[in-house]
């Protein structure tokens, strides 16, 4: 019977590598954290310890450099690749792994969008049979979603083992996804986020983030989310999806020119050197928003639109039905924007069933990835809140958006399996 006693983590100094490696160490698995220098590997260990809030984790993790990769790999049962999102870089290391690993060793990539089959191209048959995508979400200590992207050569036994291990030992919520650009979560999530950047060009950064704030089912407004992801990383994902897909929302993945200019100016968001992106901080720490036209920063408008404030008040008091009724009934251009985005999210999610996740899983896979990977109110949770498939379909049609057959055939008795969806309606 297969056992995972030791895992090699590549890219262990990065946020994903260190934290994902930490999840294995928390399960009592010995880990070797690889980085370019031992100092960087040690920083990765510090990250893992901080995530677990326990120094005990240090006993499970050893720091090493890539020079020692070939010596270490034969002792490892699983190689967890968490290098930068660069196909050339990854392929280079995966070749080294293929040569050094024992037959049967699992190799996984935490890539959030690159093709599993492309990464495995040219490798040995045994490598392909044991290579797959295991896409944790950041931070994995708080977000348990795990997209599993199997390679066509993976056996059923391997798939079953990895699924059970991730669920039972690593406490992940597994979502089987197909090898499509952006897999499931990023495909759906980044369509929403990027469309927000397009709308911001016309309506302003602060207006869009105000209208699509946490009261619409996301812990963070969309443009603030992009600042957190980092505009350079964000662009890589959105460009990849734009170049490799062609569906009814293809143009929502087109990065606006002003965002390109921001990136060229080094305005990469929170993690960039300037610590500025869509938002920045002024001399007195006040928050400033960027103008997409001039790329200048100015203080945020103090926004108070009655229907938005009413929604927040209802959510504060737990009157979720009344809050959602506002979305359904409010007549104004601003409410149209809110409806466009929420209904567009529902429409796009249901339309991707069978393309990004198996058809037989219905909406549940997409629900899980959006709830547990993005902390967003899942699409079928919205259908429940809007009164069921029939009222939702009417609203989608009125908004001029496509209605997926999957939504049309959903029974009125079928409900979102993610518990407590109301916790995603936030009164901030």
């Amino acid at each position: 019977m297969r056992e995972i006693k030791k895992v090699a983590v590549l890219g262990a100094n990065g946020a994903m590598g260190s934290r994902c490696g930490g999840i294995f160490a928390q399960a009592g698995v010995r880990c070797t954290f690889f980085a370019r220098t031992e100092e960087k590997a040690l920083l990765g260990i510090d990250n893992a310890v901080q995530q677990a809030r326990s120094d005990i984790l240090r006993e499970y993790i050893t720091p090493k450099t890539y020079d020692e990769l070939e010596d270490e790999l034969p002792e490892c049962d699983w190689v967890f690749e968490a290098l930068g999102e660069d196909i050339g870089l990854k392929r280079g290391y995966l070749e080294r792994i293929d040569r050094a690993r024992n037959k049967g060793t699992i190799v996984s990539t935490v890539s959030s969008s690159l093709s599993i089959e492309e990464l495995a191209e040219g490798k040995s048959d045994d490598f392909k049979a044991h290579f797959l995508g295991v896409h944790f979400f950041n931070p994995p200590g708080k977000l348990p979603a795990n997209e599993l992207i199997f390679h066509p050569d993976n056996s059923d036994m391997l798939k079953s083992f990895v699924s059970s291990f991730c669920e039972d030992r690593l406490y992940r919520v597994n979502i089987v996804t197909y090898n499509r650009p952006g897999f499931a979560g990023n495909r759906i999530g980044f369509s929403f986020l990027n469309e927000a950047t397009l709308y911001a060009e016309k309506h302003g950064v602060d207006t869009i983030d105000y209208l699509l704030g946490p009261h619409t089912g996301r812990a963070m407004p969309p443009l603030a989310t992009i600042d957190l992801v980092g505009l350079d990383v964000y662009r890589a994902i959105v460009d990849y999806i734009y170049n490799k897909t062609d569906d009814e929302r293809h143009e929502t993945f087109s990065l606006p020119l002003y965002a390109e200019k921001m990136i060229r100016k080094g305005l990469l968001g929170r993690k960039g050197q300037t610590k500025s992106g869509f938002y920045s901080k002024g001399k007195e720490d006040e928050i400033l928003g960027i103008s997409p036209n001039s790329l200048e920063y100015s203080p945020l408008k103090s926004m108070k639109i009655e229907f938005v404030e009413d929604m927040k008040n209802y959510i504060h008091d737990g009157e979720y039905t009344k809050a959602v009724d506002i979305i359904k009934k409010e007549r104004s251009p601003e409410a149209d924007i809110v409806r466009h985005f929420i209904l567009g999210y529902i429409s796009y999610s249901y339309s991707r069933i069978g393309e990004v996740t198996p058809k037989e899983h219905g909406i549940s896979g997409i629900d899980k990835v959006m709830a547990y990977g993005f902390s967003w109110l899942p699409p079928s949770g919205w259908v429940d809140l809007l009164g069921g498939p029939s009222p939702t379909i009417s609203l989608i049609e009125k908004a001029g958006l496509p209605v997926s057959e999957q939504l049309s055939v959903q029974s009125a008795d079928s409900h979102c399996l993610v518990s407590d969806v109301q916790k995603y309606l936030i009164a901030r």
Binding site: V49, I315, D317, G318, D420
Partner: protein, 413 residues
């Protein structure tokens, strides 16, 4: 001492104790609304059937600037306007007191269906202020004023008492915490279900497991939690109709078989003096338990399948093991060593994770314990179900073992 009438528990609901309602921008009214939504939905009871409601809450005025919480029940649905409601306070035993009142009303034949709700919103303030508020569960001006985080220090004195009387090996306390955290991993509503914890960590000290008082560490402490729980108590008449309506056998519906309620002196100095002349360190806790056994017509823990006990600190559960009679005074550690209190043992303690693992929204804990006892006895505890439970007990303690409330819940078939 036998109960005059049977009082059934028809089920209930609790909120997810991992949620932070302040971060969600929600107030105590939202929490009340959600727990009632869940309670009515899960039991399929109509709000209009209620005859009365009792709310347990410790310090709404402090944490949430909101008192008079009974009135919020009437706020839930127009059909509840006019319902007799009240709020009860006995520190961490608040909702057990609410349950005692509800039970008494049904036992006296006054009402047929009474709801018990416990609610506490605690994450609205910083931890130091929260520690100060918790100090009002002791004699504040004599024991807590000017003391940072007074409660771990009070329970450190319980640790000292045990150590002086019988000796305490810290590893046994670490085992209790570890078991409760492990149990919580199987409870989908437990606050700590995704936290990292094992015996190694519990035995360590350092940045991430600081000594809070004198000897008790962070892993020995229960959590600061936002949460609510609701249960429905019913007369035999109502329960019979409910059983028919829901296709159940009334013999399989859990009921309160016994209860005990005792109050110790509030000052820990006075408790210490009593402990020195008693074989039981907490004599009033022991009496509450034996009262419950007597009312239930049982001899002792050999007739219990599991216990949900008040582990505000690991030392409190350590005390509870012998106070329930699972061991002689001073020998509770034996039940830790022989695995009795673990899942799979002969009397698992805190299969839900307890206050350490599941969480401790102070005023809601009593109702949550009763709900968990109901779930265990009715076989509905899902992944943390103990096999073959026919009878369970709960112990809910307010303050430094000041208010003590015990319930024995069981079914006939």
């Amino acid at each position: 001492m036998q109960m005059a009438r049977k009082v059934f528990i028809l089920g209930g609901h609790q909120t997810d104790f991992a949620r932070n309602w302040t971060k969600e921008g929600k107030g105590i009214a939202a929490m009340i609304r959600e727990v009632l939504d869940g309670g009515f939905s899960e039991t399929a009871i109509e709000p209009g059937d209620l005859d009365a409601a009792h709310v347990g809450n410790f310090a709404g005025e402090l944490y949430a600037m909101q008192a008079h919480l009974g009135a919020f029940i009437c706020n839930y649905h127009p059909v509840l306007r006019g319902l007799p409601t009240s709020r009860h306070e006995a520190a961490c035993a608040s909702s057990s007191i609410a349950a005692l009142m509800a039970r008494a009303e049904i036992e006296a034949g006054i009402y047929d269906l009474v709801m018990v709700m416990g609610v506490e919103l605690m994450k609205s303030i910083d931890s130091k202020t929260g520690g100060d508020y918790l100090g009002t569960a002791a004699w504040y001006e004599k024991e807590c004023a000017g003391v940072d985080f007074p409660f771990p220090k009070l329970f450190d004195r319980l640790y000292d008492l045990y150590d002086e009387k019988y000796g305490v090996n810290y590893n046994h306390l670490a085992h209790i915490s570890t078991i409760n955290y492990e149990n919580a991993k199987r409870n989908p509503k437990a606050q700590t279900r995704s936290w990292y914890m094992n015996l190694q960590h519990a035995c360590s000290t350092g940045n991430y497991n600081r000594v809070i008082g004198k000897r008790l560490r962070a892993t020995d402490c229960s959590q600061v939690t936002d949460g609510a729980a609701v249960i429905f108590l019913a007369s035999e008449d109502y329960a019979s109709l409910y059983a028919m309506r829901t296709g159940n056998n009334i013999d399989k519906i859990p009921y309160i078989q016994g209860w005990g309620h005792r109050t110790a002196p509030i000052l820990f100095d006075d408790k210490e003096a009593e402990a020195r002349v008693n074989k039981y360190v907490l004599p009033h806790t022991r009496t509450a338990i034996t009262d419950a056994y007597t009312r239930a017509g049982i001899k002792g823990p050999s007739e219990l399948s599991c216990i949900e006990t008040h582990d505000c600190f690991s030392i409190t559960e350590y005390a509870a093991i012998e106070h329930f009679g699972l061991a002689s005074p001073g020998e509770g550690y034996k039940r830790i060593e022989d695995g009795t209190i673990e899942i799979g043992g002969s009397c698992p303690i805190n299969p839900s994770g307890g206050l350490i693992g599941c969480g401790h929204p102070v005023g809601a804990t009593g109702a949550r314990q009763l709900l968990d006892a109901y779930l265990q006895v009715s076989g509905k505890a899902g992944e943390y179900q103990v096999d073959g439970v026919k009878r369970a007990a709960t112990l809910n303690i307010g303050g430094s073992a000041t208010t003590n409330v015990v319930h024995v819940i069981g079914r006939d078939a």
